[in-house]
């Protein structure tokens, strides 16, 4: 049985079956970065929250057919992109729900009631797909490249849906 410790980065190594001395793989790099961030009080809580939220979904949807149909397991590359996105998210923005998608992608969703939702989806291929509905107004959808900062169009749509709170 896997022993979970107080350090979620260490837990992730174990649950993912990775050696902590291994130097390869996107998850390893992410875990290492996360461990470094644990020493920075200013960012520690947010980074930990981001990592834990995505990891919880990732670890419970990593088998084929997890939806009872024929879903793909969530990909490690999608995991990495979702965590990095959450880390870049301004702290003033409400934390989204992390949701697994049947094609193996990971989405982050802001839901403010039926007809008011915005979601971004990560496939681990350097693209952020997004879609949202805003009440009676027209729905939106599109794609943006993953970059150093969150694209303005995505931030605007998140804020737009959060105005419904």
């Amino acid at each position: 049985m896997t022993t979970l410790t107080a350090n979620p980065a260490y837990s992730a190594f174990e649950v993912l079956g990775l050696s902590s001395t291994s130097s390869q793989g996107p998850i390893h790099e992410l875990v290492r970065k996360q461990s470094e961030h644990f020493d920075e009080p200013a960012t520690r809580q947010k980074n930990r929250e981001s990592f834990d939220a995505v990891f919880e979904v990732y670890s419970t949807h990593c088998e084929p057919g997890w939806d009872g149909y024929n879903a793909n397991p969530l990909s490690q590359a999608a995991f990495k992109e979702a965590v990095e996105f959450l880390r870049k998210l301004p702290s003033t923005i409400l934390f989204p729900e992390v949701v697994a998608e049947p094609d193996g992608d990971i989405s982050l969703e802001w839901y403010m009631g039926n007809n008011f939702l915005f979601a971004v989806s990560f496939a681990g291929k350097g693209l952020i797909s997004y879609a949202g509905t805003f009440g009676r107004g027209p729905s939106v959808h599109g794609r943006e490249f993953v970059s150093e900062s969150i694209p303005q169009s995505i931030l605007e749509n998140i804020r737009r849906v959060l105005l419904q709170r």
């Binding site: 997890w66 939806d67 009872g68 149909y69 024929n70 879903a71 793909n72 949701v99 697994a100 998608e101 049947p102 094609d103 193996g104 992608d105 989405s107 969703e109 839901y111 009631g113 039926n114 007809n115 939702l117 979601a119 989806s121 496939a123 693209l127 797909s129 997004y130 879609a131 949202g132 509905t133 729905s139 939106v140 959808h141 599109g142 794609r143």
Partner: protein, 134 residues
Amino acid sequence: MPNSPVSPEEELSKYILQKGDIRGNGTLKYQSMLPGPDGRRSVFRIYGLSEDEIWKLALEKVVPQRPESLVGRADLLAEIVYRHQLTILPDEDLQSRHADIAGWPQDKDEKMSIAQALAEGARVKRWTSQASRS
């Protein structure tokens, strides 16, 4: 028994096997309506069936080995599916009542947008052991 082509007035059911697919307020998450890796979303045609028979269909065709995994179902009109230029492909064996929602666009953002519209138009019914008798 339904006809081969699915008419816009027909109701379809997507059986829900994940608790997390239903929000606390009883609405359906759009991710549940996205197509799988095969580019299709599996549904059942419930035309002419009673509530009891609709649940029986799930227990016999979807979760016969593990009925405990049935969480509920999302019912939606075929017309909503057609409105988004998707197709509904019934199985050759009409008695199975199974069909696939197909013809999804290639781009993920378009799939998300359509799935959001389908989820918005769906009515969720939760499964309980008494549901089939209600």
